[in-house]
Amino acid sequence: MHELVSRLLEGDRRAAARIITLVENNGQEKEQLLSELFPHTGKAFVLGVTGSPGAGKSSLVDSLVTHYRQQSLTIGVIAVDPTSPFTGGAILGDRIRMQDHALDRGVFIRSMGTRGSLGGLARATKEAIKVLDAYGRDIILVETVGVGQSELDIMATADTTLVVLNPGTGDGIQTIKAGIMEIADIFVVNKCDRDGADKMAAEVESMLDLGHGQNPYWRPPVKKTSTIDGRGIPELVGAIIEHREFATASGDFAERRGQQLKAEVSEIVEDYLKKMLWSKVGANAEMAQLLKDASERKSDPYTIARRILEVF
């Protein structure tokens, strides 16, 4: 067994941190680490938190962590921020809201840059979840980038997904229109001390009345919270438990996880094939010439692609 894996299983947080780095950097040991960790995964409950910028995702995560810690549950948090496509750099600032938990050994927080991934999560978020799962965390909260409309990855990753809306900005309804409706297992109208919170909650309800939503048997509840004074957090946690019970009873939960694993296998296979193919193409002079031809418009991309595939 990899030394880091045994240390992680003994509860060494530095080993957990290191493994996430190795996995994220796509290091040589990645496969070994993940496959050795796998038997220890599958226990944690994964809670996704998404919503537009400024909706208060980090504050909500912070409040939920506080609540869960009072129940002595151990927590992992993965907070994703965008990587600049131009420089490859990123500023990961979600921790700011959560630093009150920094000294609590029952809370492990990791910030990740998207590093080119577009679906609202980082390239290695799923793997990082596994690491924290094997590390023995009861609940893993995943906060998405929250830049827009295509944050579908969280739906395929989390057991329960919260969509956070902020009545203050007035962009909540646009977000809903943009198709985030289908992602939500639960809607959270945050900053409910603000004007417009009730109106926004009512608008979401009326959209649900019109039949928006992903599951005919589960109507996403709409919960109002305030992270300033913790109002509504226990009710939100109640709704999360209800969703979990529903998903377990209906088989949704098992199905989602099954789908996730299937998807993962195909991803790994595709990834492997891709790597293999391109390393061969790179090493082959004929192939290199074909690619050069393409760049010089000597032949069309389809013909060249077919030729490459024929060779392999």
């Binding site: 400024g54 504050s59 500023i91 600032g93 700011i96 809201r97 203050g168 900005t169 300033i228 004074d229």
Partner: protein, 552 residues
């Protein structure tokens, strides 16, 4: 267009052609705020200029030329050097020394734990007690701070924001113990929480309850402390955080108008509190830009207060301000050059008609200033006042094509910012959306890049560099002070009437949850010797705590 202007424009065209063919030294001609500056200003740049409308006379609407009729011919600006020392006892001795030398105004700098509402024995206070100012935990310390100083005879300025109400209550209680009625008290609390969210980041509570505390102070002052300056609306820290001159101007005035609106919304008449509002600006090294900023500030304030808020009392229209030279302009390299920088900055403040002035010491970029450095800083002001002759006449730069054009541009730029802020839903909403914070971060980053690209030369930093820097003597703080302060505080907790403390705090908690004015309750807690940290904790329980959303 008049024939005269036409003729000037025609001649300018000819000149412009010659200029364009002439040699230029390849520098970027821009202000310290990155505003491009033209090669020449002429009457065409102020074609719409109307003396009576835009300038008028000193002490006359719109007060562009100054808030008083006689300005420095009547009285020079107040040379107010901000100072803070380790413990209350030492600061008290310093105050008495200053008063004996004829100073009538005191200015108190508090240490970071006091500024943040923490007691000296709170773990986070470790290493910071008495460092950047005096440590005040309870009324006991405030009594020591002003022991033997008759509070009806002095005016005291206190640089405190988030916990301003508590320190103010301690001051009022100290006066009462001296037998001085609150009606007789003179002074200023900074009390400007908006700029904390925007720039300086010394906040405690979220914006809404913070604004409520401020309007409670307005109301209480109107009834009981009518001579007190309840707020000093500050651009200084906004500029230090990296803002441009225009941003400093616009954001500070926007904050000022937000306080006016809050006061009105709290049921006060604008003229009940607006005369007690004062301002605090920065003075950076770009001389003309700074002068234009101050002149524009007075004009914008007067116009808006008159036109938008319907102020009738003339005092409500006057933008009175204190100035401090720009700490952020000082360089650690060749620190003696800072004396010269500070002198130019001080000169700009005087030419801009400031009411009072603090000049930084050359070594403040390295540590707290030494006495020698403080003395040179003060002498700089005296040189300006008594040797340069600039105080002989009022607003001497008026009528300069450049200065008037810059003043107009400042006013126009500020109006554009006000529109943006209004569109975002006002100052609080703009803070929530990180508008100010992002603008300032962008400006700070741009400034840094300009220096690194050498688009901007900073003497001693990216040009005219000297490998051997002169070393200067620096002030050291004795760590023993912290231990003594903590002991004093713990002794107080053991000896005071703790039942009375708990009762007053319970009362305060109740008031915080209602809409009652908080100041009488804070006053009662303070008089029972509740500590600042205890009072803040009660309010924090009810109001919550502000957490920043950092932008870069």
């Amino acid at each position: 267009m008049s024939d005269r202007l036409k003729s000037i424009e025609a001649k300018q065209k000819a000149w412009q052609e010659r200029y364009n063919q002439s040699k230029q030294r390849g520098a970027k001609f821009m202000t310290v705020s990155s505003e491009p500056i033209k090669e020449l200003y002429t009457p065409a740049d102020i074609a719409d200029f109307d003396f009576e409308r835009d300038l008028a006379f000193p002490g006359q609407y719109p007060y562009t030329r100054g808030v008083q009729t006689n300005m420095y011919r009547g009285r020079l600006w107040t040379m107010r050097q901000f100072a803070g020392f380790a413990s209350a006892k030492e600061t008290n001795e310093r105050f008495k020394f200053l008063l004996a030398k004829g100073q009538t105004g005191l200015s108190v700098a508090f240490d970071m734990p006091t500024i943040m509402g923490y007691d000296s024995d709170y773990p986070r206070s470790f290493g910071e007690v008495g460092r950047v100012g005096v440590a005040i935990d309870s009324l006991q310390d405030m009594e020591t701070l002003f022991e033997g100083i008759p509070l009806d005879k002095v005016s005291t300025s206190m640089t405190t924001n988030a916990p301003a109400s508590i320190l103010w209550a301690m001051y009022i209680a100290t006066a009462e113990k001296q037998g001085v009625a609150s009606e007789k008290l003179n002074g200023t609390i900074q009390n400007d929480i908006l700029k904390e969210y925007i720039a300086q980041k010394s906040w405690i509570f979220p914006p809404h309850p913070s604004m409520r505390i401020i309007t409670d102070i307005f109301k209480f002052a109107k009834e009981h402390v009518p001579k007190w300056n309840t707020i000093s609306i500050s651009g200084y820290h906004i500029r230090e955080a990296g803002a441009t001159a225009l941003q400093e101007l616009a954001f500070t005035l926007a904050d000022g108008f937000a306080y006016v609106e809050a006061g009105i919304a709290a049921g006060l008449d604008v003229d009940d509190f607006a005369p007690r509002l004062s301002f605090f600006f920065n003075s950076h090294t770009d001389f003309f830009e700074e002068v234009a900023k101050y002149r524009a500030a007075r004009r914008i304030w007067a116009r808006r207060m008159h036109e938008k808020y319907g102020a009738k009392d003339e005092k409500s229209l006057l933008l009175r301000f204190h100035t401090q030279t720009a700490g952020c302009s000082l360089t650690a390299q060749q620190p003696e050059n800072n004396i010269v920088r500070t002198a130019f900055q001080a000169l700009a403040a005087v030419m801009g008609g400031t009411q009072s002035l603090h000049t930084n010491s050359m070594d403040e970029v390295l540590a707290l200033p030494t006495e020698k450095a403080v003395q040179i800083a003060l002498r700089t002001q005296q040189l300006i006042a008594y040797e340069t002759g600039v105080a002989n006449t009022i607003d001497p730069l008026a009528g300069s094509y450049f200065v008037e054009a810059m003043t107009n541009r400042m006013e126009q730029g500020a109006e554009e910012y006000f529109q943006k802020i209004d569109a975002l839903g006002g100052v609080l909403a703009a803070i929530d959306k990180n508008f100010f914070q992002q603008e300032i971060a962008d400006a700070a980053f741009r400034y840094q890049k300009e220096i690194e690209r050498k688009d901007r030369i900073i003497v001693g930093v990216n040009d005219f560099v000297q490998t051997e820097n002169l070393t200067i003597d620096l002030l050291k703080i004795d760590p023993e002070i912290e231990r003594e302060q903590v002991q004093r505080l713990q002794k107080l907790r053991a000896t005071r009437d703790n039942d009375r403390v708990q009762a007053t705090l319970a009362d305060l908690r109740q008031a915080a949850a209602s809409t009652d004015n908080l100041i009488p309750k804070i006053l009662a807690s303070v008089k029972a010797y509740a500590t600042q940290g205890e009072i803040v904790n009660v309010l924090r329980e009810v109001f919550g705590e502000y957490k920043e959303k950092a932008v870069f």
